[in-house]
């Protein structure tokens, strides 16, 4: 599954950035595309920006992931022109992708909650009581 996982780019000055967990890149891409169709570079920028520059998306992985999602018919792609008149391949979410996104978000929530329970049990309990 190596090629499926998002990876942190190994560049200097990026030590405070976090390697993506396996499978999270797919979720991020789907989420980004909910807002509307976008090309690969835009997706990368958006993820970076929205994570407040914590995530740096490895572009190689991004494009492989885009291709994989396209193969699964979760997203569709077609060539178009960007706002600054560049030819680019635009991706958009399919109905199937939308369903998957809902499911993945659910999964992610369960995961983070479970992680939270383990890592900070007291907080977790308090949170339960609150």
């Amino acid at each position: 599954m190596g090629e499926y996982s998002g990876r942190m780019a190994t560049q200097e000055k990026l030590d405070d950035r976090i390697a993506l967990l396996q499978g999270t890149l797919d979720l991020l891409i789907l989420k980004t595309l909910v807002l509307g169709s976008c090309h690969g570079q835009g997706v990368a920028r958006l993820i970076q920006r929205q994570s407040e520059e914590v995530f740096l998306v490895d572009h190689g992985s991004l494009y492989v992931a885009l291709q994989r999602l396209e193969d699964k018919k979760w997203i569709s792609a077609k060539w178009g022109v960007s706002e600054n008149n560049r030819k680019a391949r635009f991706y958009s979410l399919t109905a199937k992708g939308r369903e998957q996104l809902v499911e993945k978000i659910g999964e992610w929530r369960r995961l983070t909650r479970a992680m939270g329970l383990i890592l900070e049990p007291a907080n977790g309990l308090q949170a339960e009581e609150a």
């Binding site: 090629e3 560049q11 190689g60 992985s61 494009y63």
Partner: protein, 913 residues
């Protein structure tokens, strides 16, 4: 599966777009042009790696890997050319034999007529009994296939479900065709009378001129004919002026209106396709039987074209009803027994895409038998190569182990080995395809010795190539699977440690089993070959009741030359005299047909003073005519009484000579046949012939069957052979026999000249020795027997090589063990013995399995039984011969490695490795 969704170029394009977009943005953020580009690139990371990853996840990778495997396989095969050559040759023989026979199966059994939409054609009838039959006797358990012209018209006019219903002559028409202009030579040609809608039914147009039309088949229409493309090219050099020109056919004028398309060969696959297609309306003039005008004579096969959406079942019901109505008009069906017959009368509609499928039905069992035999040979070849592969796999143990130790997955190793097998098999298949082309040609020649222009093409077609490829693939998998599996189970550590000392492993058991399988299969083939050979031998050396030595058979047809019955006496006299005068001629005998030339006449015989046989009962007797010297000429012994003399003329009292079978069947109570009287056609005629002599039984119809009851009449005594006003075509001799003192060179030329000197219109239609004629009647059996023997020998050689290989390999691996044994005092004899014992044990097990299988095959497979003549399955001689042959081959295959084992020098053996 390998269809690529997106090209790598498209992906590269996308990355380029990404870099540009990124650079744009960076520039927007205030970086300089160069800096923006650099940063965009560096942020992207490794572009090459991204492309690689895109590529790796693509589906083309599978195919690419396959190419790499194939390349690797070719490389590793080229490193052991001896192994590769042996394997490819073996496979080429196996696959070639199968493909050659499949070529014929495809060309003969599977191909439809080259006409428009052959699937819509339907044949009315399910058998091909030929050629002119009394309708009350022509059904097979009520199923009719051959029809009178009147019945055809009735069926045609009452079946709107059929677009067209065509009638075709069941036999062929003998024609002597000569161009009217100039001094043209006459050609002995073959015609076929067909209904006027024949070409419409098949959807064929003419290549040149026009096709036959229904109007050409009307009463009183101008006589016309269509010429086949092949005859046009062969006899008239494709001369366009032939179209529209006038011909004389059997001395009557006929106009050629067109030429058939090149691919068209008529309504059936035949060794002698028609040269001329003539409308049925011409039959009373050009034919000799006036069959068109006889309502009770079946002589036409029917082929129709069904309209779309017609249900076959109800059409068959309806046509059966129509048939009964039509036949009900006939006198024969109005008697008590006739009504019984009529109630059972029906037609069976069969697919007509192959037209009249006589050839298909005739050759089917032989071809499938051969395909089965070839399949066995291929299986043996597979076992052989599997063995070779095993040995090779063991020799390559170290290589495999290293690859596995370096991380190659088991699946990869298996795949690699399988690829190698399939590559080998495909190489063998390609070589086999060449072999098959040559083989199919030879087979065709062996099967159809009489073929003049048989429309069978053996050039490799797409289905044949496909078959060869499929067989190769399957073969490769069959012989590759076990060796691949075994070598993948290799424990890398073991092999690297040098475990070559071990003598026992899974593969040696498998190898032995393969040898046993080979032995069993080859004993099956050998027993088969033995039985067929014995059967052929019995057929050839049986007492046929004739003498074939120094005899020549000449075919002619005085009808074609325009002779009237009253001129025949003179002609026959002249033929006897002129040929007698030829040097070296002992006897000249005229007749309708000679033994085993494929033609017969038959009649119901009514003995005076006996009850008439019931119609439908098998009361037919063969009928023939004989000139005074005929019996001497063919060497048929006279047992009692006399044969004919020149005094038995047309007007003399009717006399007949009968055979023993005739006496046995018609005089059941041991009465003396001499002096008794009988007649034909009707019990009224039972006084026509007086029996004056009895001759021995001679096989006329088939060499396989018992001789049938038969009677001979003098050449010109017509009696009541045909209705009073009709021409009696039985008066016309079809052949004469020359009994020579010795065969002299140039005899044929002399015969042709002599006949032409009697009348230039008379031509020798066919000339051959009596021996050849008899041989040819066995040609099918001979081909099968020879091919089975060939396959048997091939199987034997393969099995022997397999046994040799396994034994030799075993000895090589046991070198050290044998060395130790010998060092410890084992004698050379006991070493030879132990090696030979192993080899012979495998052979013995193979025999024990193979013999019952062979016997079971003979008992249960129909196509095998139909080939055997007077040979039962359990033939001790044949089995013993097969067993001895195989044992001998096994001995030779075992003794060579055994001697090598005995010559091992203990000191040297212990020092190796």
């Amino acid at each position: 599966m390998f269809r690529r969704k997106r090209s790598a170029e498209d992906f590269a394009e996308e990355i380029k777009a990404h870099l540009e977009l990124e650079a744009d943005e960076l520039r927007h953020e205030g970086l300089s042009d160069g800096e923006a580009r650099r940063k965009a690139k560096s942020e992207f990371g490794n572009v090459g790696a991204a492309r690689e990853r895109f590529y790796m996840k693509d589906r083309w990778v599978g195919l690419d890997r396959l190419f790499r495997d194939v390349r690797f396989a070719l490389r590793s095969l080229s490193k052991s050319p001896g192994f590769a050559a042996t394997a490819i040759l073996t496979l080429a023989l196996g696959i070639g034999a199968n493909t050659a026979i499949f070529t014929l199966v495809h060309a003969i059994l599977l191909r439809s007529l080259p006409v428009v939409d052959p699937k819509a054609l339907v044949r009315v009838g399910d058998h091909e009994d030929c050629c002119i039959l009394n309708e009350s006797a022509s059904s097979r358990e009520g199923s009719y296939s051959i029809f009178p012209y009147e019945t055809y018209k009735y069926l045609r006019d009452h079946t709107p479900e059929l677009e067209q219903l065509a009638a075709v002559q069941s036999g062929g028409a003998d024609l002597s065709a000569r161009q009217a202009v100039g001094n043209a030579m006459s050609h002995s040609s073959r015609g076929e009378f067909v209904s006027g809608n024949y070409f419409q039914t098949f959807g064929m147009r003419s290549l040149a001129g026009r096709t036959l039309m229904p109007t050409d088949d009307a009463d009183g229409a101008a006589p016309v004919a269509m010429l086949s493309y092949q005859a046009w090219q062969r006899d008239y050099a494709g001369d366009p002026s032939v179209i529209g020109s006038s011909f004389f056919m059997n001395t009557h004028p006929v106009t050629i209106i067109g030429v058939t398309p090149e691919a068209f060969y008529g309504d059936r696959l035949s060794e002698v396709p028609p040269d001329f297609y003539l409308p049925i309306s011409q039959e009373p003039v050009l034919g000799f039987y006036s069959a068109r005008n006889k309502t009770d004579l079946g002589w036409l096969f029917l082929v129709g074209r069904v309209k779309p959406g017609v249900a076959m079942g109800s059409l068959q019901e309806k046509m059966s009803g129509l048939l009964r109505q039509s036949l009900g008009e006939l006198k024969d069906f109005q008697t008590v027994h006739g009504r019984e017959l009529l109630a059972k009368a029906h037609v069976v509609l069969t697919p007509g895409g192959q037209g009249v499928a006589n050839m298909q039905h005739r050759t089917q069992s032989s071809l499938y038998l051969l395909l089965g035999l070839a399949g066995l040979v291929l299986l043996i070849a597979c076992a052989n190569i599997a063995n070779l592969m095993l040995v090779r796999g063991i020799a390559r143990r170290a290589e495999t182990s290293i690859r596995m130790a370096l991380g190659a997955a088991r699946v990869r190793i298996v795949r690699q080995m399988l690829t190698e097998s399939v590559v080998l098999a495909c190489l063998g298949g390609m070589a086999g395809l060449l072999l098959a082309y040559a083989g199919a040609k030879v087979l065709l020649g062996l099967m159809f010795t009489q073929a003049t222009a048989m429309p069978v093409d053996v050039a490799p077609s797409l289905p044949v190539i496909g078959f060869a490829f499929a067989v190769s693939l399957l073969t490769g998998l069959i012989f590759g699977v076990a060796p691949a599996w075994i070598s993948s189970k290799e424990q890398p550590a073991n092999a690297m440690r040098g475990a070559n000392r071990s003598t026992r492993d899974g593969s040696s058991l498998l190898q032995r089993s393969l040898v046993i399988l080979q032995t069993a299969l080859s004993v099956v083939l050998l027993i088969g070959a033995g039985l067929l050979g014995k059967s052929l031998n019995k057929l050839q050396h049986q007492n046929l009741g004739l003498e074939a030595e120094n005899r020549v058979i000449v075919d002619m047809n005085p009808l074609k030359a325009g002779y009237k019955p009253e001129q025949l006496q003179g002609l026959y006299q002249q033929i006897e005299d002129e040929f007698h005068a030829m040097p070296g001629v002992e006897h000249v005998g005229l007749t309708l047909y000679t033994p085993l030339n494929g033609d017969t006449w038959s009649f119901y015989a009514y003995v005076q003073g006996q009850r008439a046989p019931d119609p439908g009962q098998d009361a037919d007797t063969l009928f023939n005519r004989a000139s005074p010297d005929y019996f001497k000429a063919v060497g048929q012994q006279v047992l009692r009484g006399r044969t004919f003399t020149p005094a038995d003329t047309a007007t003399a009292p009717g006399v007949a000579v009968v055979n023993q079978a005739f006496v046995k069947r018609l005089f059941k109570h041991g009465e003396d046949p001499l002096g008794k009287r009988f007649g034909v056609i009707d019990i009224k005629n039972s006084g026509d012939f007086e029996i004056v002599g009895v001759v021995e039984d001679t096989k006329y119809q088939s060499a396989r069957d018992q001789p049938e009851a038969m009677f001979f009449a003098p050449m010109l005594q017509s009696a009541h052979m045909s209705p009073p006003k009709d021409l009696d075509s039985s008066l016309y001799a079809g052949q004469f026999v020359l009994h020579m003192k010795a065969m002299t060179p140039g005899l044929e030329e002399q015969v042709r000249k002599t006949l032409a000197s009697i009348d230039p219109n008379l031509s020798v239609d066919h000339y051959q020795t009596f021996k050849k004629q008899i041989e040819e009647s066995f040609s099918g059996e001979r081909m099968i027997a020879r091919l089975t023997l060939l396959f048997g020998v091939l199987a034997l050689v393969l099995a022997a090589v397999g046994l040799y290989g396994v034994t030799a390999y075993g000895v090589q691996r046991r070198t050290q063990e044998i060395g130790i044994r010998m060092a410890l005092g084992s004698s050379r004899g006991s070493v030879v013995g132990s090696v030979l014992r192993g080899a012979m044990l495998q052979t013995a097990i193979g025999l024990v399995i193979g013999i019952p299988v062979a016997l079971l095959c003979v008992r249960t497979i129909k196509s095998v039984q139909s080939q055997l003549y007077e040979v039962v399955g359990l033939d001790a001689g044949v089995i013993a011969a097969a067993v001895c042959t195989l044992a001998l081959a096994a001995c030779i295959a075992g003794i060579i490695p055994a001697r090598r084992a005995a010559s091992i020098d203990p000191a040297k053996a212990l020092r190796t490795e």
